[in-house]
Symmetry: none
Subunit: 210 residues, 4 copies
DNA sequence: CGCTAACCGAGACGGTACGTCCCGTCTTTAC
DNA sequence: GTAAAGACGGGACGTACCGTCTCGGTTAGCG
């Protein structure tokens, strides 16, 4: 009875039950919280239920298990407009500036954002669950691509030495940030971005720029 | 410690009961198996008991919980003579060769060794457990040091550009390998070591650095 | 009520919607099946829905709960023309023959008919649910009455000793059959009817035996 | 090997852990309560846990499911010294008196005792569970035997007519009591015992019996 | 013969109990 | 006296139904 949908009728498909979307929303939110707080290992569906106020049966009605729930929660991060990872600012002028900017953004995102908090959980989950693995790797590949492109542009433009393999360079840059975050007590500081780029891709300013 | 108890040496430190060391040994072995198989998340002490044939009460007598048991198991890896991670081959001639060798070794170790299988579990555990975190970070720092040293040597010797920050470089190299292992479907191939070093630290042999 | 709607009788009571009666029919049938198969304890409304193809909401629209559904299903048995319990054959000649016939019929009905299959469920349900209890006891009283009447006739006619209390005798006869069915592995065989009557009500007419 | 058990060695068997017997005791008691209150159908293990204060895991450690728990609880009734059903008083003088006494006892036991409260539950359970069925039928057979014996004695002694089939008579007597209890609103009153015996087995005192 | 009221199916929802597995603590028994 | 065995209370797992509810879609029968 809602509205007669007369006219243009954009009505894409079968009109999902509003109760479902609300439940989904609440659960996914709570799941991300839980994931960030206790990791994939400690993740308990009943805890998600308590957080979200949604009944266990409802959760299991929508997701077969912890696995897919987590996967879905993460997928929802990609979509969330305000997500720290969502948009990478490609605003820089020169290729080097663009690369530095991306690296700095990456370093920032890896400290504080929800995804960052989930990353350790994901790393572990990906090791044992194919679905999570595929999702996670794909997600990483997408995120990395901007960096690869920027580096490639720089090499083509002569801003970086020809010896630079864009793929390896991107992996080294992203890897440095990730390594510092996951395997050392001190994450990379965003302000270290320039120094990192200088180390990996050669002199910055002096490199003809100054 | 544990040294040959030279001479008379009448029991300086109470002479640990042989049953205890045997139990410890069995449990730690089983714990590593378990850890590699199901990760830190799925790790179950009762499963370790089943594997090792040691009673649960005995396990809890020696370790306060899953946490410290895992920590201890990992610590035991460091000591194990045949461990893939134990000795880093410092045999190379030039600094660059040494760095390449270390990187190659790292890439190898990250595929197949028991520690490697435990790494994802550790990454997650470290996020939530201080003890594991400290142990893990310290362990990584140690492992990384050889690389830092080798890069420093290379910079000093003029084999690598002066712009290179050895710490960042080491993190970038190790991070690249780790990133490929944990966050992509395809780990770094040991034979890529040279290309990686070339990308991060400048031209190889021919580059003569100039 | 429900009287033959004689004559014009233009719809005193709103002419029930054929969809409703069809749903009712399907559900009650399925409910009896279910009851016979899994008992009152295991009786699941959702299972009845699956059997009958009727939606759960429809079932709950017509019956407030499992209780009344079962009660209704059983009531429907009384009405069913072909029911094993429906008609008691009063065809015998002498009172003793009539009693034997009824007992034999009872023994037969207690093996194989749908009601018989439901009886244990009913016995349990009656213990805890007032509605079911009343319905069940009333039903039993009706069924027993024919027997009481036949025995009374026999006593009056001198076919049975005067000492016989018709109520107690009827209960003993029916009870014997019920006891054998519910509390022993071997139900009463219909051919035992004569022996049972002989035991409870004394020698047969001919007294032939001595 | 087991025990040195020097000496007398009264040591019947492996000495059951006192914690186990205590848990068992508490659970079985609670189970009987539960059974009497809500029947076999409504019987909930978690409710038994709440009643008894014993953890669910402990219950499942000792019994695979509701079925065997109930069976065990009932078995325990047989053993309980004070049980209403345990001892049948065979104190009567003449066979008829003995029979009347047994019947009276039966009628009494069928009103108020714990077993009586469980009987409807058992009748239902026996219908669907082989284990319960066997246990229940066996139990009934035992209980009935005293009655069969007393009747047989009476027939042999000439106190009852020769036409009486002791098995059928016992089933009729016990069945009458059970029928009244399970299938009518008014259980048999113990004081009706004589009238029942008179109806089924012929005249009492006056019955010339001598 | 078309409209409206009702019934229907589908199934989401918050619950409760199931039976399983593991936790970490503890008691008991055996060597 | 210490080790093995394992009982215990607890809590999460994932499943099955419960009884309530909100939806659209359909269909009966009146006007």
């Amino acid at each position: 009875m809602r509205q007669t949908e007369s006219r243009t009728e954009t009505r894409t498909q079968t009109r999902v039950d509003p109760r479902i979307s609300e439940s989904r929303r609440l659960v996914l939110m709570a799941a991300l919280e839980e994931l960030a707080e206790v990791g994939y290992g400690g993740f308990a569906i009943e805890s998600v239920c308590r957080r979200s106020g949604v009944a266990k049966s409802t959760v299991y009605r929508h997701w077969p298990g912890k696995l897919t729930l987590v996967a879905d929660a993460l997928r929802s991060l990609n979509v969330q407009p305000g997500s720290a990872m969502a948009g990478v600012p490609p605003s820089g002028q020169t290729p080097r500036e663009r690369v530095v900017e991306i690296v700095r953004h990456l370093a920032t995102a890896f400290t504080g954002s929800t995804v960052a908090a989930c990353t350790p959980a994901l790393v572990d989950a990906a090791e044992h669950e194919t679905d999570i693995r595929d999702l996670f790797h794909e997600y990483n590949a997408e995120r990395r691509q901007t960096l690869v492109d920027a580096v490639t542009d720089g090499v083509v433009a002569g801003a970086f030495p020809a010896r630079v393999n864009p793929d390896l360079a991107a992996v080294a840059l992203a890897g440095a940030i990730m390594y510092r975050r996951l395997m050392t007590p001190t994450p990379m500081n965003p302000s270290d971005a320039e120094a990192l780029v200088a180390t990996v891709l050669g002199e910055g300013p002096s490199g003809r720029r100054g």
